[in-house]
Amino acid sequence: MSAVIEGKSGFRSWLNKRLPVDQFMADQLTGYYAPKNFNVWYFFGSLALLVFVMQIVTGIFVTMHFKPGETTAWDSVQVMVREVPYMWLIQPMHAIGASFFFVVVYLHMARAMMYGSYKAPRELLWVIGMLIYLALMAEAFMGYVLPFGNMSYWGAQVIINLFGTIPGIGEALTEWIRGDYGIGDATLNRFFSLHVIALPFIIALLVLLHLVALRQVGSNNPDGIEIKEKLGADGKPLDGIPFHPYYTLKDIVGVGLFLTLFAIVVFFVPTFGGLFMEAPNFEPANPVSTPEHIAPVWYFTPYYAILRAVPDQRTGALLMAISVLAFVFLPWLDRAKNKSIRYRGLASKLLLGVFFITFVVLMWLGLKPAEGTYVLLARIFTALYFLFFILLPFVSRADGNGPVPERVTYHAH
């Protein structure tokens, strides 16, 4: 690969002898072959990276005006959006960006589940992705608490008390997390530190590992067949195209569409009907007034619905934890020979379809009060949720072994 450097003179050569810029480009972009049959579902990986960068940039600016603390947090947010030039735009971009992050991540995960992208040899890629998801949940939760609106306060109360259900150490653990007997200065300041330093670092590191693991195993594709098994005379995959310029250009289209949607939401429907910003959070935290019903932001509600569906708090909290962690085990629960849903039977398609619907219904139920029919529905759909993970090994083993094409399905445009 040193050929890249040879035969050039001037600054570029000088630079490359000291920092392998061209080498890196060749290895990671122009020399990285991705399957040529990617569809729209493959936008969400690069979009996730885009939202991450957007959150970092807007976050840096929000941090410049934010004052963590029980008595200062709420006021500092009000002052920044009302009085600091353009912070009316940047602060909501950060808050709404969190919701978009989860939209993109959920679609990215759904893609992996449809095309079996978690299956060998990509198990670790999936597990690292799940770690990013968990870190992102912690990051989003703490970010939600920081402005210290009333829903911030009571949401934090509920989430921190979940740790109180752990037998024996629960009470002491919640005091340790809060640094006080209730949510206060200590809690907000440590959440601020974790939100702006620790977790972004961890997420950045995990994203890097995710990309390194991806480069090692190569991208999956909608057909779920390995392009590395059909190499051309030049040793490159016959069904592969260089990531740059082909997919960088394609991803720019996705970026354009995404930013258009994002701008529409930020400018015209910032609260998104109370989903992206909740009404109770437009009043300051009030320890003596619980909002009429506490619902977390939409991206946590599927798990929240599961928590509330169980009439015993300890079991509820345990089931909630299992429901999040169950995804980690997908690579080993899925026993099919074929990866992609395209080459699996009707039973597999139904199973996955019902699971996606279940996830969305639980999301909706978690936003509703826990009473009457909603509780009954939450119990039914909680059962369906876990049924997916229980049935997957059997269904995938039974109908995921049919013939797959030799080469990827591709229609030139």
């Binding site: 009571w154 109360q157 509920v158 008390n161 979940l162 005091e175 640094g179 320890p287 019903h293 506490i294």
Partner: protein
């Protein structure tokens, strides 16, 4: 060149000595890492000022009417104090079969409040107003027969977050997501009308 030749004659490696040294170094390092973590982990515990703010709270009972509830703060938690009427106390005996923990065996309360009325003086109920489910504030639903809460409602507390129901001694009803009765904080009386929340024994009169 002779120096190199001498280097070539590598002396026999004492494998067991090497293993021991590696294990000893790694072990010492691990112990050091764990010990270093202690201050960082411990720094998350409540600070001295947070502990100081958790000192006992005094409540004046002299102006409380029967059937009235007042709320107070102790350790950042709401404390509910109810002066129960004889009717309220009578209502406690009628529904033990509908409770999850009627004798408060599993629940949190000082030993002196683990009795029929969960109180030192039956008429004065002192509770931590934090739902044992996930920490919302249970609301008062003292009127018996409020069918919106549940059939044959004897009066008590209702948590709006997830629908937990408690009677007038803070005991949780079956069908609630909460499993434990509302906790009773440590408390003591000083004379007839002074309640001190946060201590098991009232301080001596005149003590600082």
């Amino acid at each position: 060149m002779s120096d190199y030749a001498a280097d070539d004659a590598v002396p026999e490696v004492d494998e067991s000595r090497r293993k021991f040294l590696i294990a000893a170094t790694a072990g010492t390092g691990a112990v050091g890492a764990v010990l270093t973590a202690v201050p960082f982990v411990a720094s998350w515990n409540p600070s001295e000022s947070a502990r100081a703010a958790g000192l006992p709270t005094e409540v004046d009972l002299s102006r409380m009417e029967p059937g009235q509830m007042t709320t107070h703060f102790w350790r950042k938690k709401q404390i509910y104090v109810v002066r129960r009427t004889p009717e309220m106390l009578a209502s406690l005996n009628s529904h033990d079969d509908k409770l999850k923990d009627p004798k408060s065996d599993e629940s949190n309360q000082p030993a002196y409040a683990k009795n029929e009325t969960r109180a030192i003086r039956p008429e004065i109920l002192v509770l931590i107003g934090t739902c044992t489910h996930l920490g919302c504030l249970p609301k008062t639903r003292f009127t018996p027969g409020d069918a919106a809460v549940m059939a044959n409602w004897p009066g008590g507390f209702f948590c709006p977050c997830h629908g937990s129901k408690f009677d007038l001694a803070g005991r949780v009803f079956e069908g609630s997501p909460a499993s434990l009765n509302l906790a009773v904080p440590p408390y003591a009386f000083e004379g007839d009308n002074r309640l001190i929340v946060g201590v098991d024994v009232a301080p001596e009169k005149g003590a600082a």
